[in-house]
Symmetry: C2
Subunit: 410 residues, 2 copies
DNA sequence: TGCCCTTGGTTTACGCCTTGAAAGAAGTGG
DNA sequence: CCACTTCTTTCAAGGCGTAAACCAAGGGCA
């Protein structure tokens, strides 16, 4: 435990990890490209790849003719080497997905939660059930699974097992990881849902390839995933998700967290509905929050009263984005979450303008606002990146990943 | 350039760097302690230290008797191995300080700037003059200087030479590093002043030894230095200093940056004076901003009108701190800057209460608010940590540090 | 068809590194 | 004076990456 980084074995592990990461993020490629991209000499690339191929972790997948020379052979990670599971514990359902190493979906399982309240015990049961269901569904053995990532609403504290504080869903210090361990005998990693959505967009979506980027998640709750220097490790508790509870208007409207003037009290779905109600009386009251919001937004172009409410939200959203831009100077800001994506579609120019009004010129000059690309299963996908990330960083050491009683990191 | 981390030479460099960092931050110690703290085997410690001592970079400085065994010999970095210079380009003066490697002050030079405006050319002249003055003063040869760190107000963009955007002092894309290079033939590193103050507090002050901490800087301007996971690399431009321009009250008071509702428009020194004037007419008008503010604050306990203004600032400050706590969940928040230190002294309980009102319970539970420990030269000290940091991370490779035309990092 | 050229990948001699174990060094207590 | 403890150094052994030479596989051209 003490050694590992300073040793010469660690060097090899790091080089394996570099090669694997490059292969994973930049796609299949020739040995030459891998060498220069990962900063490793050609000889070492061959050496390392030799080992990896023997273990079946990477495979040769074709030749690319080159302009008058020996053609490159392309290597890639073997998607079938192992599987990972991503879980999205949402406020209305639990989604479990089984992926191969290339993040191809192999099986899916969704179970609805009671809308009333999220009981930890029920969630644990549903997660465990979902995990077993997808494995059975795709006929994958547990021993072929490298790990399970779980995205939850609220703060995740690692001490060292994950404890979840979900102020908005009534979870107070729920020892989720310990509970899950009793029913799942696989390596677990628990993370904040907003952060994981961000990671998914960063690996596979609109934030791809950018080292400094912020992904905003707007739904009922409001969060942000902040990625600087290519990684998202901000704060000991994955708390960057709590952007929604930053004050943008002291003494402003009261938020469900209890404080005043939180961003979420202006741009969250609940806020929009409530604001419309205050101004213009009750909107349609059927269906869940998401449906009611959708119905409202559908009328934005024809109903000035709706437009008024939306525009107010947009102003606050812009200011919130400006705050992020000022502090982090990302190069992209990605708007995600079911409501965020809709707002991006309906009001992107206005959001941009509102942000510009409040941001400093210099950092704002270099920023691009984008709509998130991934769909409804982005959180599950992001959750699945946790075990993948662990696996790659270990240099593809299956034993290390499985053996560890695994302090979960997220 | 391509290699360096993956190679076996790099391994040695990293191990040297580990040992040096441990020695530097955790103070002198026995070989045994170094070994376990840095995660290196005893043999390697001896080996590495042998080299370092031969180069004169570390030296043996005494024995510590142990309970019935061979006494440990204590090693420490040699303060006289080299020198570094820290520069604080403030809004009213340029302070240049020469330090030895142990950050002992060897010489100081302060030159006042015209209060009217900060002309880049004048600043460059003053910095260069100050550098030569302190060297002459302490009779240190240029060749013994490992580098010069410079703290400036405003955003610093590395592209790759440092370009400074100081919206509040009228600097728009000033290529400061290029200008300085023409007059100073030493490795340079430019950084945001707020961030550097934070680094100083982190290495030597109230934030010492804590991996996740936020240092707030309040003077005329308002900034924050955010340290997560032990390092402060947030954003490609060291922009974390721009916390003062985050909106806490949309449509609120207008800030000198042009936007509305910035935190700085409520808690900066100018804001306090102006607010008092609005409410109660002109305060004393003699002296500079700092003196006038001091005079006002001196009356806070006897003049309810002053107290009213201060308390308003404190409320906003608390909300701003809460925002930082929610997003980063630091374990300490340190209040620095000449005004910040005063507010901490006068109103710490009120600041704490205001922050608590706006923060989420979970992250706030673990946070401690502290007053900064370092004095008026903290920015210069922090600036001097830049070349030191570079030197230590290089594993104490003097040539590497001096040779590099040095992409400045901060 | 045969030769050279270009480009991609592989092998090998070499030097360097860390480790782990064993030996050495420096005190203490009996 | 001899164990015993604690800290430090030495040394053989095993691994690693690099550089440079060396194979492999085509394309173009005569």
């Amino acid at each position: 435990m003490a050694s590992g980084a300073s040793t010469v074995h660690g060097l090899r592990r790091r080089n394996r990890a570099r090669v694997l990461w490059d292969l994973y993020l930049n796609g299949p490629g020739s040995r030459q490209r891998i060498g220069s991209a990962a900063g490793v000499s050609p000889g070492t690339v061959s050496n390392v790849l030799g080992g990896l191929m023997e273990e079946g972790l990477v495979l040769e997948s074709g030749l690319v003719p080159s302009a008058g020379g020996r053609p490159s052979s392309i290597v890639q990670v073997n998607p079938a080497y192992g599987y990972v599971i991503g879980v999205d514990v949402g406020e209305s359902s639990v989604l479990v997905e089984l992926f191969d190493l290339a993040m191809g979906v192999c099986a899916t399982n969704r179970s609805l939660t009671e809308l009333t309240q999220l009981s930890p015990a029920d969630v644990v049961t549903q997660v465990a059930g979902g995990v077993h269901a997808v494995l059975a569904d795709a006929q994958v053995a547990e021993s072929d699974v490298l790990g399970v990532g779980i995205g939850v609403p609220g703060l995740v504290e690692h001490s060292p097992l994950a404890v979840v504080h979900g102020q908005s869903v009534g979870w107070d210090a729920v020892p989720l990881e310990a509970l899950l361990r009793e029913q799942i005998a696989l390596p677990l990693a628990v993370g904040n849902g907003a952060k994981l959505l961000g990671q998914a967009e960063h690996w596979f979506g609109a934030a791809r390839g950018e080292a400094d980027v912020v992904i905003v998640l707007i739904g009922q709750g409001v969060g942000a995933s902040i990625i600087t220097g290519g990684s998202a490790d901000l704060g000991p508790m994955s708390s960057a998700g709590e952007w929604g509870h930053t004050a943008v208007s002291i003494d402003g409207r009261i938020c469900r967290c209890g404080a005043r003037g939180c961003l979420e009290a202006y741009v969250g779905a609940g806020a929009i509905l409530q604001r419309y109600e205050e101004l213009h009386g009750m909107p349609a009251r059927t269906g869940d929050l998401e449906r009611r919001t959708d119905e409202l937004l559908a009328r934005v172009d024809i109903d000035p009263e709706v437009a008024e409410v939306v525009d107010e939200s947009v102003r606050y959203l812009g200011a919130g984005i400006a705050n992020l831009v000022n502090v982090f100077s990302p190069r992209r800001v990605v708007l995600g979450g079911w409501l965020g994506r809709q707002l991006a579609e309906l009001r992107m120019p206005e959001i941009h303008a509102a942000a510009e009004r409040n941001a400093l010129r210099t950092p704002f000059r270099d920023v691009t606002l984008l709509r998130a690309e991934l769909g409804a299963d982005a959180v599950a996908l992001g959750a699945a990146t946790l075990p993948v990330s662990r696996f790659l960083s270990s240099g593809g050491d299956r034993e290390a990943v499985l053996g560890a009683t695994a302090t979960s990191t997220a």
